[in-house]
């Protein structure tokens, strides 16, 4: 039996359903049109963002070479653990896992992540990581797409603490530096020079970082490289330093605090520069521990300070070469002019004592320099008066920075009535001139300024001290050093006096090296009054700083030198032997025996 049911009522509803389906699918298609055509560009950008990464390639910093091309500062490969938190699940899990893998503090990692300035910028969470760290991370590569290992060049200083102040050090760019326009293109974690040549020539040494454009999958693993801009290596800097002399200079101090600097008197090239105590710049190449930093920066022995350009000391008797030059040039004395030293000078109602109580007798300027007679230079100073002394001192570069290519150079101080009026609102007393004439009072100088004075005495020119000979093989042009229009007889007389210093009866006899005509001058910078020193003769901190400046050989000077031994006592005793060791090394004289000191009747003050 066939039973046909009445299905008519349903037909309309079925047709309605059919059109509902057409409508639904059409609306969906329209939405795809919106997504794929109208907003296609937006989503294509997002897709590109997903898969493209730009990874910088660190440009190796330029090397520092000595004047003969020997390596002073180089780069070695090291591993940095970097992280891009956006590629991980959450910052918390990233921090917890890294702290576990690297056995390091969560707070430290969190702090570093908080410092970064832009999203998707890789953050260094550990620099110079060990092989164990790298292995631990690689083993968990798949669980941690946000972390990776970067191979980067790390700064290495084979000389360690020798020349540390001069070469400087590198360190992560500080938050304050990032604020300045000079460092605007850098990111936290980037290494920049923080002292010495590394800082002065930082821009040049850095070169320019390269860039790799990568395609990565959803786990952050590199799939392909689409573009590579190679880094531009920082050019090598050829310095004026001589590694051998530098080491010899460092050793000549035998652990005592002080500083020394040697110049080529013709050009002003710095052949060696030492400041002790020093530090090992290698420890700064990665992020330095805060405890170590605070220990170094608050150490009363100031190991981070470059005493050659930042130490400001009274020149003591070194200043007598300045006074002598001024007096001869001004015609206040001639080389033949003599004064009588009875052991004291009574002037302005005060009695000043020469360091040789019995007196030096009758002496001309040559003998006065040789024996460092105070009375002679008091007599001369009183006749010159302060203005002329100050003028000549300034002509010889005192009281102003030398312009050396190192950061933070101190200027020293050359006092004058005008200066005193301006800064202390008081009149100049004639008695002060007496002090200044022999390098006491308020005069201060840096060792580098005195080495430059030695260079002037050697050549008659005042060269600009500098450390960089060539950048990337291209010689740096010399700054022409002005010839000071002094009379030949002036310099000849001072040189004769300086020559006599390093000889029989000279105060610098201990600097003598047979066969080499060394011209020198001793000096002592008092740190306390004579009366205090007499009462505490055993207290090293009250001993004067010993000075020695020299150039050699007299006929054709090749080296100008200043040495300062802090609290070393007299210059002749403390500084001259150091100078002798340095000069012996420079002239290739093997370990000369110390010259006899018999007959050396006095030690100048």
């Amino acid at each position: 039996m066939r039973i046909y049911e009445d299905l008519r009522g349903m037909q309309t509803r079925l047709v309605a359903l059919q059109y509902a389906v057409v409508l639904g699918l059409s609306l969906l298609a329209a939405h795809f049109w919106y997504l794929q055509v109208l907003r296609g560009r937006h989503f294509r950008d997002l897709a590109e963002n997903n898969l493209r990464r730009a990874v910088p390639i660190a440009a190796p910093r330029g090397l520092l070479l000595d004047r003969k091309g020997r390596v002073l500062v180089e780069n070695r490969a090291s591993f940095n653990i970097v992280v891009v938190p956006e590629h991980g699940e959450s910052v918390d899990t990233t921090v917890a896992r890294l702290a576990h893998l690297l056995a390091s503090g969560e707070a430290h990692i969190r702090e570093r992540i908080a410092r970064r300035d832009a999203p998707f910028r890789p953050i260094i969470v550990k620099s110079d990581a060990s092989f164990a760290d790298v292995a631990a991370l690689e083993a968990h590569r798949l669980e941690m797409p946000e972390a990776s290992v970067d191979v980067v060049p790390l700064r290495s200083y084979p000389l360690a603490s020798a020349a540390a102040h001069c070469l400087g050090r590198v360190g992560e760019v500080s938050d304050r530096q990032l604020q300045s326009p000079d460092f605007a293109d850098l990111a936290p974690g980037d290494l920049v020079g923080q002292a010495g040549v590394e800082s002065q020539y930082n821009r040049s040494l850095m070169g320019r970082d390269g860039l790799r454009r990568l395609i990565v999958n959803s786990r952050g693993v590199e799939v392909a490289e689409t573009d590579r801009q190679p880094p531009v290596d920082g050019p090598n800097l050829t310095l004026t330093l001589d590694t051998d002399l530098q080491k010899a200079m460092d050793q000549a101090f035998h652990g005592r605090a002080g500083s020394a600097v040697a110049l080529d008197p013709e050009t002003g090239e710095i052949l060696a520069m030492t400041s002790t105590p020093g530090f090992d710049p290698n420890i700064f190449s990665t992020s330095v521990e805060p405890a170590l930093w605070s220990r170094l920066s608050t150490d009363p022995a100031t190991p981070l300070m470059n005493r050659v350009i930042q130490g400001q000391y009274a020149p003591g008797s070194l200043f007598k070469v300045v006074t002598a030059t001024a007096a001869l040039e001004e015609g206040v004395i001639t080389p033949q002019t003599t004064f009588y030293c009875p052991g004291y000078l009574s002037i302005y109602g005060t009695v000043f004592h020469c360091h040789k109580a019995a007196g030096h007798g009758v002496l001309n300027v040559q003998r006065a320099l040789q024996q460092s007679c105070n009375v002679f230079f008091w007599e001369v100073g009183v006749r010159l008066e302060i203005e002329r002394i100050a003028r000549y001192a300034k002509m010889l570069g005192l009281g102003a920075p030398t312009g050396v290519d190192l950061p933070h150079e101190a200027s020293g101080l050359m006092p004058s009535p005008e200066w005193k009026e301006r800064t202390q609102k008081t009149k100049w007393y004639a008695g002060e001139t007496v002090s200044v004439a022999i390098g006491q009072g308020q005069v201060t100088v840096t060792p580098l300024q005195m080495a430059r004075v030695a260079a002037f005495m050697a050549t008659g020119r005042l060269p600009r001290p500098h450390l960089v000979k060539a950048i990337g093989g291209v010689p740096v042009p010399l700054v022409e050093s002005p010839v000071l229009p002094f009379k030949a007889a002036t310099l000849a007389a001072v040189r004769e006096g300086m020559r006599a210093v390093v000889g029989e009866q000279g105060t610098g006899l201990r600097a003598q090296i047979p066969g080499i005509s060394i011209c020198g001058k001793t000096g002592s910078a008092q740190v306390v009054a004579h009366s205090v020193l007499a009462r505490h003769s055993g207290t090293e901190a009250f001993l004067p700083h010993g000075w020695f400046l020299a150039f050699a050989p007299q006929e054709r000077p090749r080296i100008a030198l200043a040495v300062l031994v802090e609290h070393g006592g007299s210059g002749g005793e403390a500084a001259a032997p150091v100078a002798r060791e340095i000069l012996a090394r420079y002239f290739g004289v093997a370990a000369p025996g110390s010259p006899t000191v018999a007959g050396l009747v006095d030690t100048e003050q």
Partner: protein
């Protein structure tokens, strides 16, 4: 039981062809989505499953649908038993109990339950001889289907469970349920939904809904899938990036790309053109299915074809809308295209039943 030769002539070759074409596009897209990885031969497995599904389809169309409808009650009892068994004894996989294993095969009873539910709903409403139905008339059938919904939702598998709701509503609508009653049912569902939100939903499900409303809450979590899928779809553009060349699909940014998000891969690699072709094919299948309901010789056949069409339509629309970022991410596969044996088997069984209804429209 031999099939009458005359019946073969009445097979809806258009719908069958469209369905097989969709399944083959699915196989090709699965190949593109997986060829680089460890599961590179999944497309072959899918081919085998498709073959198995076609066998199922042939079986489904060879038995007269009226004889199946007469056995609706035993089928229902079997489905409830299987779902209960899974809930109690099924292995716990990723926090859910959805499968049991028979002779080495994973069986997912909830997929087959959809077919059973379609047969049951058709049978129940074909017995109701009224011009117009009120709420009271659908309460009993609603409770019967509601049990299945609850059992599946408890696994939990909310996506599949919810599929039964449009199936039920569509057949009830065709059976004469008044529009006012449908609105009333909507209110009831809203209340049940509200209570369910409070007491039944797991935290991860709530999170999914929250992050659907604001994906940036959790760009690496539940919102990640929606964002990445939208990027894949949108970056495909008009013509697509080319087969096998979608960066989102190939570099692994797209999750579940060979299963629930297969349509993203298609949209990324073949563009709006590919989307239009595939949606057109689905429209053809659904159009023919609803046409079958109009041609059916009896109410049970019409309700069966329409119910199965509603089931299919809901899954297609929901999955495609999910891929486009329009609705929350649910574990709902795209019928015929997503990788997975249970889904393709149940879909082809359903299509077999629709063809069954159409080819027997003249026969006694």
């Amino acid at each position: 039981m031999a099939i009458d030769r005359r019946l073969l002539l009445n097979i809806d070759w258009v719908m069958l062809g469209a369905a097989i074409l969709l399944a083959l596009i699915g196989v090709a897209t699965i190949h593109s989505a997986t060829h680089g990885g460890a599961a590179a031969n999944l497309y072959l497995k899918q081919c085998a499953l498709l073959g198995l599904g076609l066998v199922g389809l042939v079986i489904a169309l060879s038995v007269d649908y009226r004889r199946l409808a007469d056995r609706a009650l035993p089928l229902y009892v079997a489905a409830v038993a299987a779902l209960t068994y899974v809930l109690v004894f099924g292995p716990r996989i990723a926090g859910t109990r959805r499968w049991f294993v028979v002779a080495g095969l994973q069986v997912q009873p909830s997929e087959l339950t959809k077919i059973v539910a379609a047969i049951l709903v058709a049978k129940v409403f074909s017995e109701v001889r009224k011009e117009s139905l009120g709420l009271a008339d659908v309460l009993a059938p609603g409770a019967v289907i509601g049990l299945l919904v609850l059992l599946i939702a408890a696994e939990p598998d909310l996506g599949t469970a919810f599929c039964l709701v449009p199936l039920f509503l569509t057949v009830a609508f065709l059976a004469g349920l008044r529009l006012r009653a449908i609105l009333g049912l909507g209110v009831v569902l809203a209340v049940v939904g509200g209570v369910g939100w409070q007491y039944a939903l797991k935290d991860y499900q709530k999170t999914r809904i929250y992050t659907f409303l604001d994906p940036s809450l959790d760009p690496k979590g539940a919102g990640y899938q929606k964002i990445q899928s939208q990027i894949a779809v949108g970056s495909g553009g008009l013509m697509g990036k080319g087969y096998g060349k979608g960066s989102q699909s190939q570099l692994g940014y797209l999750p579940a790309r060979h299963t629930d998000f297969i349509f993203s891969v298609l949209a990324e690699e073949l563009g709006l053109v590919g989307v239009a072709v595939v949606l057109g094919l689905y429209l053809l299948v659904l159009w023919r299915a609803l046409e079958t309901a109009q041609l059916a010789r009896d109410r049970v056949g019409a309700f069966l074809a329409a119910g199965l069409a509603a089931l299919l339509a809901f899954q297609v629309v929901y999955n495609v809308a999910m891929v486009a970022g329009l609705v929350p991410v649910k574990g709902l596969p795209l019928p015929l295209m997503s990788y997975g044996g249970a889904s393709i088997l149940s879909t082809l069984l359903g299509i077999g039943l629709i063809i069954n209804v159409r080819m027997r429209r003249f026969a006694n």
